[in-house]
Symmetry: D2
């Protein structure tokens, strides 16, 4: 299965993201992605805000977490996990909030600059429409191969 | 305003939380709270899950972030910020995911064990209905007094 | 080897710590320890300080890191790693600095409240002689079994 | 004092680092630095190692912490703190360990990409002589102006 057609896999994952209930609830949109990277966004709307009109920190954390997962899905390392029915686990998530977001999109670029067979170290940057940095995130992911062949 | 009746303030904050749009969207419930602590929860439902039926890490992060903020709202330190029209900013959030949550409530206890006039160091534990630890979180909060008297 | 006499192992590890060059350099002392916990300390001395007479943050970080490792050494999980010539890797370290230390000992209590076969989540608290909290730390440890029998 | 000659300040700070006791103890060397950045290193030597011959995580953490502080010293923001006898406090430090270092220098590049009047968010990368990434670090710094004029 690992020798899967990457274009087909990508289309399938795109379709999946469009109708995935949690993504719909929160407004998470997949802009583009490939092995070890993803560009995503969430549109600002009052329902996602604190009382002071700033996008909630939990929404920013969700954007980062979901984007990092998306950046894993087309990697060979993850394909192996899936082919063997193993598991991929996010063991930690860190967000540093730099500026409030009060309009437009929270845009996220996630990368996995260090990916081994067992551990991935991921990073993400969230920016506003004006290109200002809103938040920085990082996450550690543990891959466990399963027993299926 | 700081000499406000605490019971009245608490009732007001409870009412606020019940109708706050983001809390409704995500299902965040305030169980109880006081100065420097809060007990909260989010009910498991498929819409908040990953494809594998586990509550999304972003939801857990949101639960922790919102609970820590709630634990600040009745502190004298925050009342001073509000009275002077200053600001309270969460500058970072960290979540360590220990176990998947697949049913019941994600229950959160947030505390602010170290609170100065300018910085608060907060901690949170998320547990399942069986009392298993699901996640640990921490956060740093910066308080800035305003100029209003 | 796992069925080792624990008292003998503990004595051996105590002896080791007393003459271990890095511990001597930095002044790290093992007070007591067992499976999943360690009490340790570093005596304040000018050579370990910032120009302002406060113990350097790197010394506090070292105290936490070394204490967490020590808390692993008598666990069954680590014994298995050692018996199979596997590896134990600290993948991250976080320190929150709460107060400056300007005299006496930096005393550390490290615990590993969540230890599985592959991942350990550790926590540590550093206090002054007066019992004031100086710093909080946490760390994630990955265990990999080796191939030796 | 803020209008100080930057070259003179830099020479002074270089001289200071050469004879600073903690830096001598640990082998911390300042390679070059300016406002918001610093290049530094620590030479590998057995005394700084774990029993397995890998540079101790506490040494890497110290390298990152000291480098980030150094990157602050020539900023205008820090000069203001010094001129008013205020304080600069590192409130947290995070290190992600990517690879073991077993020879040569642990080389560090620290930057402060986000520096306001009150908070600085700093990042650091530690590499080996071959340019491999050994560790990533980040830190938050709080600046407090003093009352001196």
């Amino acid at each position: 299965m690992t020798q899967n057609d990457p274009d087909k896999l990508k289309r399938k994952l795109f379709e999946f993201a469009k109708v995935f209930p949690f993504f719909e609830l929160i407004g998470f949109e997949l802009v583009d992605f490939g092995p070890t990277w993803a560009k995503t966004r969430i549109a600002f709307r009052p329902e996602l805000c604190n009382p002071n009109g700033v996008m909630h920190g939990g929404v920013i954390a969700t954007l980062i977490d979901a984007s990092i997962t998306q950046a894993m899905l087309m990697t060979d390392e993850y394909q192996q996990v899936r082919d063997t029915r193993g598991s991929m686990t996010t063991v930690d998530l860190r967000v540093r909030y730099l500026r409030p977001l009060t309009a437009g999109y929270a845009q996220c670029e996630a990368r996995i600059p260090h990916l081994g067979r067992r551990i991935g170290h991921a990073s993400a940057v969230v920016t506003s429409d004006e290109g200002k940095e809103i938040a920085l995130g990082d996450s550690m992911i543990i891959l466990t191969l399963g027993e299926a062949k």
